[in-house]
Symmetry: C2
Subunit: 243 residues, 2 copies
């Protein structure tokens, strides 16, 4: 139904029924489309005057670097996600953003966003909802790193990614295309790359999933959900504002 529109429209649409006028406003935000190549940071820590973007195609990650060179990936963004909403509010970016693949994103000025919001308040709520969902994911990520072991954590992470991708039509319960390397996974999960490799092997040997050649294949969805204590509801609340 929303498939002819942007991934963002599709994502928001699954929580708030958007009418044609609202969809038009959303599409209007996708002017000034930019393309970025993989590996070259899009935003970096301490940078001032950074813009916000809506990701249209490709994957990026936001991360922080410690002085000893280790890094922690805070989150991955996939099509339909906002980039750097917070950096606009703080005048200076507190994290880096790296394109994992070639990326297409629409630059959005804060003024445009505000205009769109006043034109269509339902849109504002939907975006606020999306931002809250992102925050909830960061919290879940924190819980995972703090209290889950490597196996559960990895399973949980991949299930979450799968759920997010389903929302924008880029995954099924059978799996998804995944451009991440094991190093990305390690940096996100707070593990070493070597250990991630071992964990992936274990998941494979248990017949739960495979992570190979840019493909995640989910072999035993229920088994994974049980292992990870994954809350199937947590990403698809039935919308905050049916009213």
């Amino acid at each position: 139904m929303y498939s002819k529109h942007s991934p963002l429209a599709r994502k928001l649409g699954s929580f708030v029924a958007l009418d044609d006028a609202e969809l038009a406003v959303l599409d209007g935000l996708h002017q000034r489309r930019r393309r970025f190549v993989a590996g070259r940071d899009l935003v970096h820590q301490g940078q001032t005057r950074s813009a916000a973007y809506i990701l249209a195609e490709g994957w990026v990650c936001s991360y922080k670097l410690l002085r000893d060179g280790t890094r922690q990936i805070v989150d991955f963004q996939i099509p339909g996600d906002f980039l750097g909403l917070r950096s606009v509010l703080f005048r200076t970016a507190d994290h880096n953003i790296e394109p994992i693949t070639t990326v297409e994103a629409s630059e959005v000025k804060d003024s445009e966003l505000l205009t769109a919001f006043t034109q269509t308040p339902r849109l504002a709520t939907a975006v606020l909802w999306a931002a809250s969902r992102d925050e909830a994911m960061v919290v879940e990520h924190l819980v995972g790193i703090g209290r889950r072991n490597a196996l559960e954590r990895t399973a949980h992470f991949l299930l979450e990614l799968n759920a997010r991708l389903m929302l924008v039509g880029q995954a099924t319960t059978a799996g998804f295309d995944c451009p991440l390397t094991q190093y990305h996974l390690a940096d996100a999960l707070g593990l070493s790359a070597v250990h991630v490799n071992r964990v992936l092997r274990e998941l494979r040997e248990k017949g739960l999933l495979t992570f190979q050649k840019g493909q995640v294949e989910i072999l035993d969805f229920k088994g994974l959900v049980a292992l990870a204590e994954f809350d199937l509801g947590y990403l698809d609340h039935e919308g905050p504002l049916l009213r």
Copy 2:
């Protein structure tokens, strides 16, 4: 200057110069004050129709529970902080809130908040700024758990708490009153209580700080900052909107 007002006014006031009208609106939010006793959860996971609160006195923590009984504290809230802003947006709370001390908080209906925001847009921005700061803290927390060892992580956490408390006038660089037990620290830092105890001993033996009898005394501020790689700027950006 703002000291006769609520801790919230004081906190926001250090980022946006609020005029008397704005302060009055803020104060107006503090109707329906409630008192909660320590230990009995104020909000719990899965609860629907939970209110938002502004914390006026005392400390609370928000946490998530895993099935095996371990818990992860996501954040502590101190006077001037909002509680459960996200639970209002999601119809159901995704975390628990436990009062650590006896707590005084003002219940705020979403409608009141929205009214206040339309009356005073600068206030809305200030609150949005505060929410972003909270999110930035969760991110920093994530980085700490993912990539810092127990000693650095503990030091960083206590420095952050100190910085936050200074904003509401409840700490100096010499230290602060702290109602947390070592168990609280453990649950927040993703460590065992036993190890927290050893880490605190090490901090004491290194002459950096003491954590005793509800008091944190900072003995060597610069040493701690160096150990924790604490970014002195990160909580006191000079305001997002001087305009």
